[in-house]
């Protein structure tokens, strides 16, 4: 058994665990995709056309384009977080799937890595579905929008890593409400999803610069609108720090739990 603070061991052993989650998802495919895109889609259309009819343009862009490009990041964040919290907790503590995996020649590191990559995969599926709907609304019809997919996957990994910290500390599902209401929801309003960060007071703008969702929006929005991100290395670095740091901390807390 590795010591509490050892660097997580990366191996391909995560793959059969990831595959297991994928097979479960395939069985519930329609409901899952529908659930993941219905809410953001309704919000997008309601706010996009509703507010959009009053706002016309934000930063020189039609509001619905502005909103869609931020909203897809928010959806990926929510989908990935949900999977790394509620679903991972169900597998860990309710169904005891993790116990079954630990009885096989798998390490806890493999299990947590598989959860991270699976949450990112699932959020990518929902992001891709939202992207398709955006295309039908005439948004994002540029070649470089394809780069959005790997960025969304990376953002999914980042939020999964943070979510897995909460999972390691949870004693029940109710615990996750704190995370969604006190961390994720405020983050949405500070990251330029619905309106430009410049609208915020300067102290909040400062906080916004260090948020992972802002970094994701700063990478995705320009690509969707047909341009290029202005500070890609900085944004990718911010995501990387949250992702790697988050995964390491999640491993420590998970090891403590087992």
């Amino acid at each position: 058994m590795t010591s509490l603070y050892a660097i997580p061991a990366f191996s391909l052993r995560f793959y059969p665990i990831w595959r297991r989650n994928f097979l479960v998802w395939k069985k519930l495919l329609v409901a899952s995709v529908l659930g993941n895109i219905a809410d953001p889609l309704i919000t997008l259309i309601a706010f996009g056309y509703g507010l959009g009819s009053m706002l016309k343009e934000v930063d020189g862009i039609p509001y619905i384009h502005y909103l869609a490009s931020g909203s897809i990041c928010m959806s990926v964040m929510m989908a990935s977080s949900f999977e790394a919290l509620y679903s991972a907790y169900s597998r860990m503590s309710v169904q005891r799937t993790w116990d079954a995996l630990m009885n096989a020649p798998l390490a806890l590191d493999d299990i947590v890595l598989a959860e991270l990559l699976w949450s990112a995969t699932k959020s990518l599926f929902s992001g891709a579905a939202i992207l398709c709907v955006m295309f039908t609304l005439g948004i994002g019809l540029h070649v470089q929008v394809l780069l959005v997919l790997p960025v969304l996957f990376f953002a999914g990994m980042t939020f999964a890593a943070l979510g897995l910290i909460m999972n390691a500390l949870a004693r029940g599902y109710d615990f996750f409400t704190y995370y969604f209401t006190l961390i994720l929801t405020p983050m949405v309003f500070l990251s330029g999803v619905y309106y430009p960060v410049a609208q915020l007071p300067s102290w909040l703008q400062l906080i916004s610069q260090f948020l992972p969702l802002s970094a994701a929006v700063n990478l995705v929005r320009p690509l969707v609108l047909g341009g290029w991100p202005q500070t890609p290395l900085m944004d990718l670095a911010i995501l990387a720090v949250y992702c790697c740091g988050g995964f390491y901390v999640a491993m420590i807390f998970t090891r403590r739990r087992f």
Binding site: M1, P16, I17, R19, R20, L23, V24, K27, L28, Q95, R96, T97, D99, A100, L101, M102, N103, A104, P105, L106, A107, F258
Partner: protein, 313 residues
């Protein structure tokens, strides 16, 4: 005394494990040592909180001991636990089957964790289903299965990698008699094939039927070890007289103590332990309103003597 690894498939020496911090730190495993020979069925018996499940977890490398040595298939645990688990099968106390998959899919998905190719697993599934008597249910969802079927599937799943050693934590708890008997038959056939089983159980008849040797554990210490028959012969009287009835207690106070080496009370039942039951039977002929059962001593009597009749939390 540790046996050589050629004959021991599992050896545990001077194991210590404590939980809790500061003043509340309590030893769950206290200098425990035992070895399993290949092909035997070894039982761990003990009251709640004795440390049986903790012992299994330590042997599987799921928990790290404070001190002591564990060798599983010649590999040091917990350092090489993950690799050692390639040749091990586990039937846990609580089922952890995949509820979203069918019976067959559960076997297929689990085999992948061992790196076994799908083609190989698919060729073995019919045999595993036959073993578990679940061939007719191969496409059934887990939710459709009864408790006994789920346990049989868990057993089949534990065999998917053809392990040498099986860990079974209370394998028949919660099952009806038919299901229990079926599991026992299956376990005996596995032992006949040369597999080794480490079993924890509360059921004395299960331990007596299946185990070649067993260890009675309490407060993390081994109190006694040996074959069921030798333990009974060594520790307790050979015969038991159970006496029931309202006047059982008063009869026992008058006649029981003089004629039996040990007398115990449990509610309205009196247990008389003795090597010669004739004086007691003689006195019972004249007693009114008493019923009695005369039987040989069994493991439950041994267990109650060694660990007491008080409830454990």
């Amino acid at each position: 005394m540790a046996e050589t690894t050629e004959t021991s498939i599992l050896s545990v020496r001077n194991l210590h494990k404590a939980f809790g911090a500061g003043a509340e730190r309590a030893a769950i495993i206290n200098d425990l040592s035992f070895s399993l020979r290949r092909g035997e069925c070894y039982g761990l018996l003990g009251p709640n909180g004795a440390g049986k499940t903790t012992t299994l977890r330590l042997c599987l490398g799921l928990s790290t001991p404070d001190s002591g040595e564990i060798l599983l298939n010649g590999q040091g645990i917990p350092d090489q636990a993950r690799i050692a688990r390639m040749r091990v099968g586990v039937v846990p106390q609580a089922d952890n089957l995949d509820p979203d998959f069918t019976v067959q899919e559960n076997l297929l998905v689990f085999a992948r964790y061992f790196g076994i190719a799908d083609a190989v697993t698919r060729s073995r599934i019919p045999e595993l289903l036959e073993f578990a008597n679940l061939t007719a249910k191969k496409d059934a969802r887990i939710g459709e299965l009864s408790g006994g079927m789920k346990r049989r599937l868990t057993l089949a799943r534990a065999l998917v990698n053809d392990p040498d050693l099986l860990f079974m934590d209370e394998p028949t708890t919660g099952l009806d008699p038919q299901a229990r008997h079926m599991i026992w038959e299956r376990l005996k056939s596995l032992l006949a094939r040369g597999k080794t089983i480490l079993l924890t159980t509360h059921f004395m008849d299960e331990a007596e039927r299946l185990c070649d040797r067993l260890a009675v554990i309490d407060h993390g210490k081994m109190i006694s070890e040996g074959s069921p028959q030798s333990l009974i012969a060594q520790h307790i009287e050979s015969e038991v007289l159970e006496v029931y009835g309202e006047s059982a207690r008063s009869w026992a106070e008058q006649h029981g103590h003089g004629n039996a080496s040990r007398v115990e009370y449990s509610g309205e039942t009196v247990f008389c332990y003795t090597n010669d039951v004739r004086p007691l039977l003689a006195s019972l002929q004249h007693a009114q309103g008493l019923r009695y059962l005369h039987r040989p001593a069994n493991l439950e009597d041994l267990f109650l003597k060694l660990t007491g009749r008080e409830m454990r939390d």
